[in-house]
Amino acid sequence: MSIDKEASLIKRIQRQGDRRAAEALISAHYRETYAFVYRQTGDLETAMDLTQEVFLAVLQSIHRYDPKQAGFRTWLYRIAAHKLADLFRSPEYRFRQKTVPLEELTLLGDGSPEEQWMEADQLRQLQLRITELPDEIQSILRLRFYGEKSFREIAEILSLPEGTVKTRYYAAIRTLRKEADEA
């Protein structure tokens, strides 16, 4: 979708509460947002629920969105990162991650079942470790790992200087590596 078309849809939602414009805007960004969420949750239903929550938050606060301050995608990722941080912080999610039965493990990759389970287990372990980190560092890692964003894009999304993002990212990687080695 072109930037002009996107801006016009946002204006229509802001001014008239136009439902069709909202549907068009969400449809255009649904798959990308879903993929960002899915890479971190690894579960279709959770990812769909969370994507829905992200877009609800977007529409709830769209009257406050100012295109001069940030691009729409940047703003969308910012909301998605906050929603994910909320999810990973919730006691229900932490409990579920620690007690997930073997038969409920979702197979994620293409290899043999053993390889897929190992991959899923590694992902869960990594998720748990990331969850222990402060919110801002969690957001940096998630955007880098799962959003495949550059440091500049992450800096824009989180309204931080690029240098700070890099420093915090590498410090977090060192911490995670150290913890993994100790485990």
């Binding site: 001014r15 439902r19 449809s27 829905q52 709830q60 606060s61």
Partner: protein
């Protein structure tokens, strides 16, 4: 990692559900906001807990107004002094109302009560700013007309001067509320303007008079209209911010 996407039908259903649940409403205009607030709240509720502030301000305004009028009646050139007096004095009433309301708001136990209401404190503040401004305009306009009758001066030039001063002050007040996050900081900024203005009018009345005299009545009308337009524009932004600040 392979991403397991939902089907196109699932995505469409999800998008429809999001739009069904989302509060998609038209952006309120200033008029719809004011109409809604005045219908649902009324003056009794909007000034609830601040009637003492209003009485104090009205009394002070009346006392200073009467003293000023008596002084001006005995002066040699009442036209000159009246213009300077009105320009400096007009925003004082609004300033007192605003700052004392802010003080009362901070002191009083109204927060938990207001939190249970349909409107937030920000909504109330936005509507109160409008009501207080209207009240000030009515009081200052009435006083100016009474003063012009007492001093036997032409009412329109005096009214234009006092309204310009008030519009200018209101504009600064709205801009301060938009730019400065703390109400106290906004009050400090406004106090600087009001007291600086009063002090300058007392210390250099001739300079003030020359400045005010240099502008013809028609230009004052244009300035008033321009300031009124700017005030409405800034107030619209203020209302939108007040309405949506809590929704994220």
């Amino acid at each position: 990692m392979t991403i397991q996407y939902p089907s196109e039908e699932q995505i469409r259903a999800s998008v429809r559900e999001i739009c069904r649940q989302a509060p998609l409403t038209e952006r309120p205009t200033i008029l719809s906001f004011l109409r809604d607030m005045s219908r649902n709240l009324g003056l009794r509720q909007i000034f609830s807990g601040t009637w003492d502030v209003i009485v104090i301000c009205c009394t002070l305004f009346a006392v200073v107004g009467v003293v000023g009028a008596v002084e001006l009646r005995t002066t040699v050139d009442p036209r000159q002094k009246a213009s300077v007096f009105l320009f400096a004095f007009s925003p004082v009433f609004l300033f007192l109302l605003f700052s004392l309301s802010v003080w009362k708001e901070a002191e009083g136990p109204v927060w938990p009560i207001k939190m249970t209401c349909r409107y937030t404190v920000r909504h109330l503040m936005a509507f109160r700013v409008f009501c207080i401004t209207c009240l000030s305009f009515a009081a200052v306009g009435f006083y100016t007309l009474v003063l012009s009758c007492v001093l036997r001066l032409r009412g329109l030039p005096l009214l234009c001067v006092s309204l310009s001063s008030l519009f200018l002050y209101s504009l600064i007040q709205i801009q301060a509320a938009l730019s400065v996050r703390s109400n106290w900081a906004a009050c400090g900024l406004l106090a600087l303007w009001v007291f600086g203005n009063c002090a300058a009018a007392l210390l250099w009345p001739r300079f003030y008079w020359e400045l005010l005299q240099a502008v013809p009545t028609l230009a004052w009308v244009v300035v008033d209209a321009l300031l009124a337009f700017l005030f409405c524009n800034r107030y619209g932004i203020y209302v939108r911010r007040a309405c949506y600040a809590e929704s994220m």
